[in-house]
Symmetry: C2
Subunit: 199 residues, 2 copies
DNA sequence: GTGCATCATATTGGCACCAATTTTGGCAAA
DNA sequence: TTTGCCAAAATTGGTGCCAATATGATGCAC
């Protein structure tokens, strides 16, 4: 699903505004592919709830729904804090350093990268952390959940203060992980995930 | 997605054995629909991981993977036990009676229903219980996770002892809910979900 | 008799066309 | 000026056809 990823990226980066109708002909030309592939990609994204399908009308970018986003963030809190114990159990010095490196790459993206770079670096950090959990399905699921709410993130991530706080929290997580402090790691993760929903 | 549901039902009920190749022409004739609809349904089911897509080869029903099933069951334990507190908080006498009724309908399905009836009744019970949770996305997610492992269930549910134990556990859950005993409800739910993976 | 290359067959996957439905623009009437 | 209606344009969704690809069988060489 290559075209689907392209569309998803453009949705996340704000090229396609929330609520905007995605005409199949436009997508066909924009990505240089056939109608079949466009339809398949749109169906895929509709199932991932990034776009919404209205029969005989077409597909439009999902409108950000504050309640739904909050609910999905709560699911992420549940899953990611539930993984903490096994993450700490599986962590080695080398792994901790690798994750610290990912936190630093996020800092780097804040300084010199685009919004999308920051998004990717943040994703890489969280994937690196959750990757220690011996349940690979948990990582898959959290990644999928993240994809369901990210369309609204473009605006949320815009302030510098917020991304810098995210950076601090990343390093807090690594420190808590290195200290083997499960309780603190859970707290930091919970506040970190819930952060974007502050009004 | 009507055809997709039909195919899913046939996969769950064992008409299509695990690993079996699903030829588009056969499905087209079996369900009396066009190729387009078959392809959409197969793509949909591939994303739900009920079938697997191999380019230029086709789609075959997912082979049961013990490790993956166990991992997904653990995710269900995490999510469904995490919902317990809010479920108890939201429960009223009327709701508890309604859920007890669903447990009785499962008993009824054991006596007089097919395997598929039992599956549906079990699903209805769990949906009824989780429906009390104020986070609707949690119910959606658990339902989806349940769908990801059910292809292997046909064999697991075959013994009478097992379904009867499931029935007892359902009633235990209702009792714990009525008593407001969160700890016990969590325990019962956890053992109930993990039950099928006993070797 | 066995292994390998080749060819026939069956199946998938994309493309172009066509029908069905919705939206848009214009026109007339109140 | 506004409102309702009708026609035209645009867009979606489905059907049929054809190329690309994998599979299995056949025949040939060793």
């Amino acid at each position: 699903m290559d075209v689907a990823d392209d569309i998803a990226r453009d949705v996340r980066s704000g090229v396609f505004a929330p609520g905007m109708w995605l005409k199949q002909i436009d997508l066909e030309q924009r990505y240089g592919c056939g109608r079949t592939e466009v339809r398949r990609a749109l169906d895929y994204l509709a199932q991932k709830r990034l776009v919404q399908h209205v029969p005989n009308r077409g597909y439009h970018v999902f409108l950000p729904d504050g309640d739904r986003a909050a609910h999905i963030l709560e699911l992420r809190v549940i899953l990611e804090t539930a993984a903490v114990d096994s993450v700490i159990a599986q962590s080695t010095a080398a792994e901790i350093e690798r994750i610290r490196g990912l936190a630093r790459q996020f800092d780097e993206a804040i300084l010199n990268g685009t919004i999308l770079d920051q998004y990717e670096a943040n994703l890489a950090f969280h994937r690196g952390l959750l990757g220690l959990c011996p349940n690979p399905e948990l990582l898959n699921l959290v990644t999928e959940l993240r994809g369901r709410t990210s369309s609204a993130l473009a605006g949320q991530w815009s302030t510098r203060a917020r991304v810098e706080q995210s950076s601090r929290e990343h390093h807090d997580m690594v420190d808590a992980l290195a200290a083997g402090d499960a309780e603190r790691l859970r707290d930091v993760i919970a506040t970190h995930i819930r952060q974007p929903q502050r009004k």
